[in-house]
């Protein structure tokens, strides 16, 4: 090793605390980047492999009932490659020892051969035997939630008839990577299951012999999906087609895409912050190093080291710090990525996880952080290289101070002498002080981003289930039934109140935009379902016209008073123009509401209802569930509150871990910034402070002068961090805006307080470390050193 390189190692050893602090900041940036990108890539890779190997379809459609021969006509649509017709049914599931209502979706498997599309990955057991009518394959999530394994039995109520089935296999499907009960907000693996039966068995149970009510197809190369969807709708229209849709509207696929989008945002925001802070810290540290070493630099130059050699000398030093940071970051990112991927595997049902960290990702991370760090130090390194040797040999001229604005404005009298030293020092390097504040502010902001999603989720749940969706139980019938069904349910013991609703599938059209949705007919003046305005105040449902959630209005480009075309996809499939009566606010999903009587008028159906919302005494609920299970024509029973609680239970651990990681990251930034600032302040002002000690100042007083400045900056960073944090949360929320949900910009007081606390505590800890060094200041040695 060259002697000059040995000097780098010794210099580095001399500033190991600072070097490690900076390396950790770099490591945080690299690891968040690697974690997000590798997780995203791994999930995408896994998804692509699963889709390809298990033949995930391109287009999907549900309909009321079509004879099997229609399959031929679908196949004849230009651009269609493979067609799979199926029978699908919504069912209730009866599980011994589990009183809550459980719903499910059953899909048919061909009795001969493998399904051409949407094949199953068998985790356990086997597929159903041909033509056996008492066998079922269940989804893995549902099986795990209840501990089912092949050989177990469960009761399934199809079309109002209960029958016992034997579980023969546990499987995964590319269609159900993300499993959500229809219309729900969170997955609930205990109360919702996906399952598969033989076509013959399911057809018999649903009166679908020789017919199908569900179709999936793939496109041939170069086919236009919109064309195919349009033609498919034409073919299926007479058979009660509910409108075909492509992958991008397929629920499971959509949720995955949204998740990827979120990871992408994370991969963009976090590393930028960390690397920015790291670049700033390196700049500060290296420029300090350059001024400490100006004489050494001068000597080296006097003996013939060139500008390039000197520049490279510092670049190498920075490079070693980067190397340390990047190494820790890659290892940490790999570990976090693996961990995050397994967390996603809990929610997303992939048969396998292909976690891999592509070398190119690590290389990009290393290059980007290296680039950022070098960019941050370039100025100081250049300054070191360009230092004229003769001038460098002389000590630096004393830095010029002046009275700060605050003092000139008359604050001088209020401030003590140390107080004046503090503000003059801040005022002397306003840019550096500003960057220090910015660095710490980002630490505050990162903490806020960490807690934001939790706060927003809480708020969304509060609004949705506290203010809007207030029923305890939602009962859905197999098809429209007369209104008198309400009275039967109201008569159940423990039911306090009941309200009817009607859902009708329709395509809403405005100019060239359209959206497929289930229009909900509600009772005017209802108390269980309420519409909310922008201020979350309940609004009356108008007797005529249609009410849309604001985001749906935005998607369709309609405003209040515009005429919307409603193409009903059920019954007589009427097409009517309805005025938009109001836009209402809603965070979860998008909806279209109408007065139930108005909706029934469009349908030419007197008093039909699709279901009933009930409010019921919790004590009676198990008995109500038991009664509901035995009633025919009930397609599903949902208990919202339990679904939410279940979701929170699953999330709790994950949330805790992510909060911990965020706290750690924010702590690293805060610590890195404060510790480095304090160490540099100590090195710049050691002499001055030692002189003050000689003049009789106490240790406490000189600590106050040195650390007081950092205290002032840390306090200034808190409100700035709140602002930046809010901005970042807004950016994230904006990116997450879809028709699935809109995350409101809600930040709890607790979030603000916690963020500020974490950062201030980190600042205090690093302050204490510097104080420890300050207490051991060797007065004589300091005064003797020539600087």
């Amino acid at each position: 090793m060259k002697t000059i390189d040995r000097k780098i190692l010794r210099d580095l050893l001399g500033m190991k605390g600072q070097a490690v602090a900076i390396a950790l900041v770099i490591a945080s940036g690299v690891s968040t980047f690697i974690m997000s990108v590798s997780t995203m890539q791994s999930l995408r890779l896994t998804q692509a492999a699963f889709y390809r190997d298990y033949r995930f379809a391109d287009v999907f459609a549900s309909l009321k009932r079509a004879p099997e021969r229609v399959r031929r006509r679908i196949l004849d649509i230009p651009g269609v490659d493979v067609v799979q017709t199926r029978v699908a049914a919504s069912v209730n599931i009866d599980i011994r020892g589990f009183p809550d209502p459980v719903t499910g979706d059953v899909f048919s498997l061909p009795d001969t051969g493998e399904p051409p599309l949407n094949r199953l990955y068998l985790r356990q057991g086997r597929l159903v035997e041909p033509f056996r009518d008492n066998e079922v394959v269940i989804g893995e999530a549902f099986a795990e939630a209840h501990g089912f394994k092949p050989g177990d039995e469960l009761g399934i109520i199809i079309n109002g008839r209960r029958k016992t089935f034997t579980v023969v296999g546990v499987a995964l499907s590319p269609e159900h990577i993300y499993q959500m009960p229809p219309g729900a907000m969170f997955p609930d693996f205990k109360r919702y299951g996906v399952m598969w039966m033989g076509r013959a068995a399911l057809s018999t149970a649903c009166d679908m012999k020789g017919a199908f009510n569900d179709v999936a197809l793939t496109l041939s190369a170069g086919a236009d999906i919109n064309d195919v969807i349009e033609r498919l709708d034409e073919v299926l229209g007479p058979y009660g087609g509910l409108g075909a849709y492509g992958r991008k509207d397929q629920l499971s696929h959509r949720y995955l895409s949204e998740e990827f989008k979120q990871l992408e945002r994370m991969a963009a925001i976090f590393p930028v912050i960390f690397l920015g802070v790291a670049a700033f810290l390196l700049n500060v540290v290296v420029s300090r190093l350059v001024s400490i070493q100006r004489e050494e630099i001068a000597v080296l130059k006097a003996f013939g080291y060139g500008n390039f050699d000197i520049g490279m000398h510092f670049v190498k030093l920075v490079f070693l710090i980067i190397l340390l940071g990047v190494s820790i970051g890659i290892a940490g990112g790999y570990w976090l990525g693996r961990y995050l991927s397994t967390v996603y595997m809990e929610f997303y049902r992939f048969p396998f996880l292909k976690y891999e960290l592509r070398p190119v990702v690590a290389v990009v991370a290393a290059l980007v952080s290296g680039g950022a760090a070098i960019l941050g130090t370039l100025h100081s390194v250049r300054r070191a290289a360009m230092l004229p040797p003769a001038r460098a040999m002389r000590p630096e001229p004393p830095v010029s101070y002046r009275e700060t604005l605050a003092e000139r404005l008359g604050l001088k009298r209020i401030l003590s002498q140390p107080g004046r030293m503090i503000i003059r020092h801040i005022g002397r390097r306003p840019v550096k002080s500003l960057l220090t504040v910015t660095g710490m502010a980002f630490a505050v902001a990162i903490m806020m981003v960490g807690s934001f999603q939790e706060d927003a989720l809480d708020y969304m749940v509060d609004v949705q289930f506290g203010l809007s969706q207030r029923e305890d139980i939602a009962v859905t019938f197999v098809g429209p039934v007369p209104k008198k069904a309400l009275y039967e349910l109201r008569g159940l013991g423990g039911v306090r109140h009941g309200e009817i609703f009607r859902t009708v599938y329709a395509r809403l059209r405005f100019r060239n935009r359209s959206y497929r949705i289930a229009v909900q007919g509600l009772e005017p003046g209802g108390d269980l379902r309420r519409l909310l305005d922008a201020d979350l105040k309940p609004v009356e449902l108008p007797p005529s016209g249609i009410v849309l959630t604001d985001y749906l209005g935005e998607m369709l480009g309609v405003r209040e008073g515009d005429m919307l075309t409603v193409e009903v996809l059920e019954g007589g499939r009427p097409v009517v123009d309805v005025p938009v009566a109001a836009l209402v606010s809603q965070f979860i999903g998008v909806s279209a509401y109408m007065d139930i009587s108005a909706l029934n008028r469009i349908m030419h159906e007197g008093n039909a209802i699709s279901g009933v919302y009930l409010s019921a005494d919790p004590v009676y609920q198990p008995r109500i569930f038991a009664r509901l299970k035995r009633m025919p024509r009930i397609a599903g029973t949902e208990v919202r509150e339990k679904a939410i609680r279940n979701f929170y239970d699953t999330m709790a651990e994950t949330v805790l871990i992510f909060t911990f990681i965020n706290t750690l990251l924010a702590g690293i930034i805060a610590f890195g910034v404060v510790y480095n600032s304090a160490r540099i302040a100590l090195s710049e002002r050691g002499r001055e402070l030692a002189s003050l000690r000689v003049l009789g100042f106490t240790k406490g007083e000189i600590s106050y002068i040195l650390l007081g400045e950092l205290g002032v900056l840390a306090l200034a960073a808190v409100p700035a961090g709140f602002l930046i944090g809010r901005g970042m949360c807004a950016y994230i929320a904006e990116g997450l805006k879809t028709d699935l949900y809109r995350v409101p910009l809600i930040l709890d007081m607790n979030t603000y307080a916690f963020a500020a606390t974490v950062v201030l505590v980190s600042a205090c800890i690093s302050g204490l470390i510097v104080r420890y060094k300050l207490d051991r200041l060797d007065l004589i040695a300091v005064l003797k050193t020539r600087e």
């Binding site: 080296l300 130059k301 006097a302 003996f303 013939g304 050699d309």
Partner: protein, 246 residues
């Protein structure tokens, strides 16, 4: 001995440095400081020259310009006939790397490197250097090779600095107050080392001091005052360093 010295000084092809009208003005914002106001002089191969003058007389400025650490505002300076005045930064670096050895008043050792390493850091980039150990042996520090500067006395540190300066076998050795920070006994030890090198290696040596007693060991003494040469004295009898005292 003296005769030889006089002969050396008189022979024009043995000129190492030549300056003509050399001036340096420091622009300190509102005030301009005239450090040198037109210096004409020569330094010849193998001689030991002492630049004598009070502080602020321009000694260090002149030395820095000769060593390629600084550039003149006006006038010309040549090293072995080559003009240093218009040299680029790269050329000056090359010049310092291969021809010049510096010794500074405050030693300017690199604190994070040992004695041996402080010398090696220079020999590693030089053309035909001696071994660092050899250079340190010459200055009498063969037994302190692996000590860090903080573990050495002032005199020892200055001798490391001299070892560092001579290890590359420079053509000229430029010493800025090499004994300024040392007591007289230690100072004399350091001067003996410089004398030995000048004598044994024939290195042209320029030594700055404001201590008139040191002038006795020079071949020639150049007096500087207020940026100008006030007179030049040729020592008929060059004293040995051991004979000096102050």
């Amino acid at each position: 001995m003296t005769g030889v010295a006089v002969n050396r000084t008189m022979s024009p092809d043995r000129t190492v440095f030549q300056t003509r009208g050399l001036a340096k003005i420091y622009d300190m914002g509102e005030v301009k400081v005239h450090a040198l106001r037109g210096v004409d002089m020569e330094i010849y191969a193998g001689e030991l020259v002492v630049l004598l003058g009070p502080s602020g007389s321009g000694k260090s400025t002149l030395l820095n310009i000769l060593g390629g650490l600084d550039t003149a505002t006006k006038g010309q300076v040549t090293y072995r006939g080559q003009d240093l005045t218009g040299a680029t930064d790269r050329e000056l670096t090359h010049y310092r790397r291969f021809y010049v050895g510096f010794v500074f008043q405050f030693y300017n050792l690199i604190p994070s490197l040992t004695a041996r390493e402080n010398v090696a850091v220079v020999t590693e980039i030089a053309g035909d250097p001696m071994k660092p150990e050899e250079a340190l042996r010459i200055v009498g520090l063969g037994n302190r090779l692996d000590h860090f500067p903080a573990q050495l006395s002032g005199g020892e540190q200055q001798r490391v600095a001299i070892a560092r300066a001579i290890a590359k076998k420079p053509a000229v050795l430029l010493c800025d107050e090499p004994t300024g920070a040392l007591d007289s006994a230690t100072g004399i030890v350091v001067l003996e080392v410089l004398e030995k090198i000048n004598r044994e290696l024939g290195t042209a040596t320029v030594l700055i001091t404001h201590n008139a007693d040191i002038a006795g060991m020079a071949d020639r003494v150049i007096y500087l005052n207020d940026g100008l040469i006030s007179r030049v004295r040729v020592n008929e009898h060059r004293k040995s360093a051991r004979e000096l005292h102050w």
